[in-house]
Amino acid sequence: MSQAHDTKSTSVQTERKLVKREVDILFDGTFEGFLCVVYALYYEGIVPLSIQAIDEYQPSITQEEQFIITDNDRAHKVEKAIVKKISHDIARRVAYAFLADTTDRYVNILNYIILGFKVGHMVDSHMQHDFVLRVHKFAREVGREAHKLTGFCRFAETAQGIYYCAITPVHHVLSILAEHFSDRMIDQSWIIHDKRHNKAVVYNGYDYTFVEVSPDSEPPVLAGNEEFIQNLWVTYFNTLAIEARKNPKLHRQMLPIRYRGNMVEFSKHI
């Protein structure tokens, strides 16, 4: 079993023995929680069978499980260690990769961080390791989807004067969008509703909070002139097309079909 380590010790023990253990590691699914998992596993030198968020938990054959409790101070320490020992960019990559909606992200990110503690910012040069490439791919996909959605989000004004937007992203990009729109639409109340993961971010003109939304919640009632403005936009959009240049293949590549359902210029015909 593990030995108690001096938590202040920051020196990496290269001779550290890794112990494979038939255990499923569970945590609360938050980024802070995950950092605590990193903490526990790194300092105890355990390679687990799996790492899973509690609400997606699928027990494996061994049935041995260990729940890691989230401790914000500890999470903060790990985050600082990543910035200090590896790099700022890599801390950001880790945060983005964490938002990917894939089952194998946790283990791959863990390996990436552990290697990072060993080799510092050179970790990205170790592309012979599959997990380095995987983490890059996750972060890239999340970044790309979030960036696309900063443009593709469509708000509609509700009867209460709140701007409402529905999205169905593949990854958990809500937190990135919240940061973007709380800066851009700083004086406006808005809601972005992730219908795929049943979550929403609500901004009141000052702060934002994340909430769970029931899958069968009703869409909001819209303001009186919303229809008029939407029609103007659809008219504008349709006018911009230059017949001679049409190219559906390129169009699909730039604006994948799966985004279009939530965009008024594609869903509305006038």
């Binding site: 050179m122 990205d124 040069s125 170790h126 592309m127 012979q128 490439l133 960036h147 696309k148 900063t150 443009g151 593709f152 989000c153 469509r154 708000f155 509609a156 004004e157 701007y163 937007c165 729109f181 709380s182 800066d183 851009r184 639409m185 700083i186 004086d187 406006q188 403005i229 029609n231 103007l232 936009w233 008219t235 504008y236 959009f237 006018t239 911009l240 097309a241 230059i242 017949e243 001679a244 240049r245 049409k246 190219n247 559906p248 293949k249 390129l250 169009h251 590549q253 730039m254 604006l255 965009m263 210029e265």
Partner: protein, 431 residues
């Protein structure tokens, strides 16, 4: 005409200006205002031809005093005419912006009365937006050739980017087809903008509260295919504009005949085949040519190429079959193959098929271990074209006859009328 009709009419008149990037300036949101700007640019939608829509692109007025033959708004053109009031433009911009339809506004106008009067209208609209409406998002404004320096100065303090379109790539064509515009009428304001930017940078260093002057720089557009200038001339012109006028971007627009032209070649009416996804054959090559020009432009701006390296003489055109970098490489085969494990970054960039991202990845990865072709593949480097121009540890990917003809054969795009885009990558990279 109701508002919707007017918007339609004015957009018709603005849509042939292909510049629709919102890049080049970073500006955080500010309490009490609405909006921000992102240096990388954000596309909010895409037209059916795959062009990015990021701005509300419209005109104040489309009833032009001038008679430029290539332009849909010219005096002699038989089209519906409309105008919008400054507050209507400002209001519409805000409504669209709050719904995240757009990244900002791209405003221009046909010449009403005279250039200075038109400029006043543009200034009025932007003042309203920045002042009363507290708009902090992106604004691109097209200045009017022949206008006064003071007005350019004023307009530039309200906009992020300013463009003055050259449109025709030679003075001869200009005199012929745009009789109301002279070369000095275009070049002089471009100079004002350039000097304004330089001066503004100086003042920024000295005084804290200096107002920005076109922080996202200036751009222009050239029409391709309406007049006989070869690509060589066009690319040389672009190079001069980047160098001497410090332009941020030059845009190229394949000429689409609009209305009943008399002086211009009546191009075939392009048709689109939904079955094959191909543009009518006679129009396709022009769009492909436009695409090649964007690629050449990219080589100028980011890959360290000069126009002189790309062309043998003034009358040469870019190849439609292979991209400009491949074309250059085939002419300079003595510089290849390049050893992936030792070549410096700029040399790697000159390898066909290797872009900035790939070159960066290679430089990073080879610090840890020597790279072979398998490693490259695993790293996501596309070897389709590059394989003929590189070695890994002294070995080529396969034995080939290292002659221009035999390599060219392997490189030729068999779907030459493929996806021609305005190179969105270049938009991203133009930050």
């Amino acid at each position: 005409m109701d508002f919707q009709e007017r918007l339609k009419t004015l957009t018709e008149g603005a849509k042939y200006d292909v510049a629709c990037t919102s890049s080049g300036v970073n500006r955080k949101g500010k309490r009490g205002m609405i909006g921000s700007a992102d240096a990388c640019g954000i596309c909010h939608s895409f037209t059916a031809d795959g062009r990015c829509i990021s701005l509300l692109k419209t005109l104040i007025n489309n009833y032009c005093e001038y008679d430029c033959q290539y332009c849909v708004n010219r005096r002699s053109s038989d089209i519906p005419r409309a105008s919008m009031q400054p507050h209507e433009v400002a209001d519409l911009t805000m409504q669209f912006y709050r719904r995240n339809y757009i990244e900002g506004l791209f405003l221009s106008s046909a010449v009403i009365k005279n250039p200075d009067y038109t400029m006043e209208m543009l200034i009025k609209t932007l003042s309203l937006l920045r002042g009363e409406y507290r708009f902090n998002g992106y604004i691109h404004v097209k200045a009017i050739p022949g206008s006064d320096e003071k007005l350019i100065q004023k307009l530039g303090q309200l906009a992020d980017r300013m463009s003055i379109n050259i449109e025709l790539p030679s003075e001869r064509s200009l005199t012929h087809l745009a009789p109301d515009k002279s070369k000095p009428a275009i070049i002089t304001p471009m100079n004002y903008v350039k000097n304004g930017i330089i001066q503004n940078k100086e003042e920024m260093k000295k005084f804290k509260n200096t107002v920005d002057f076109v922080p996202a720089g200036q751009s222009t557009q050239l029409i391709v295919g309406a007049t006989p200038e070869a690509d060589s001339r066009i690319v040389h012109l672009a190079q001069g504009l980047y160098k001497n006028y410090k332009l941020r971007r030059v845009f190229y627009s394949a000429y689409i005949p609009v209305g009943n032209d008399t002086l211009l070649p009546a191009a075939p009416i392009p048709t689109f085949d939904t079955g094959t996804g191909l543009i009518h054959k006679e129009y396709g090559p022009l769009l492909l040519r436009e695409h090649r020009l964007y690629q050449a432009d990219f080589l100028l701006r980011f890959y360290g190429f000069t126009a002189g390296e790309m062309f043998k003489n003034e009358e040469e055109n870019l190849s439609l079959h292979i991209d400009p970098k491949c074309h250059w490489a085939l002419r300079n085969l003595e510089k290849f193959p390049v050893e992936v494990n030792t070549a410096d970054y700029m040399t790697l960039l000159r390898v066909p098929g290797i872009g900035q991202i790939s070159a960066e990845r290679i430089v990073k990865a080879r610090r840890v271990s020597k790279l072979n072709f398998d490693n490259l593949k695993k790293m996501g480097i596309v070897l389709k074209r590059a394989r003929y121009f590189i070695t890994c540890n002294g070995k080529m990917a396969e034995k080939i006859n290292f002659q221009p003809e035999s390599i060219e054969l392997r490189l030729t795009d068999n779907n030459a009328v493929g996806p021609y885009s305005q190179m969105t990558l270049s938009d991203v990279a133009s930050a």
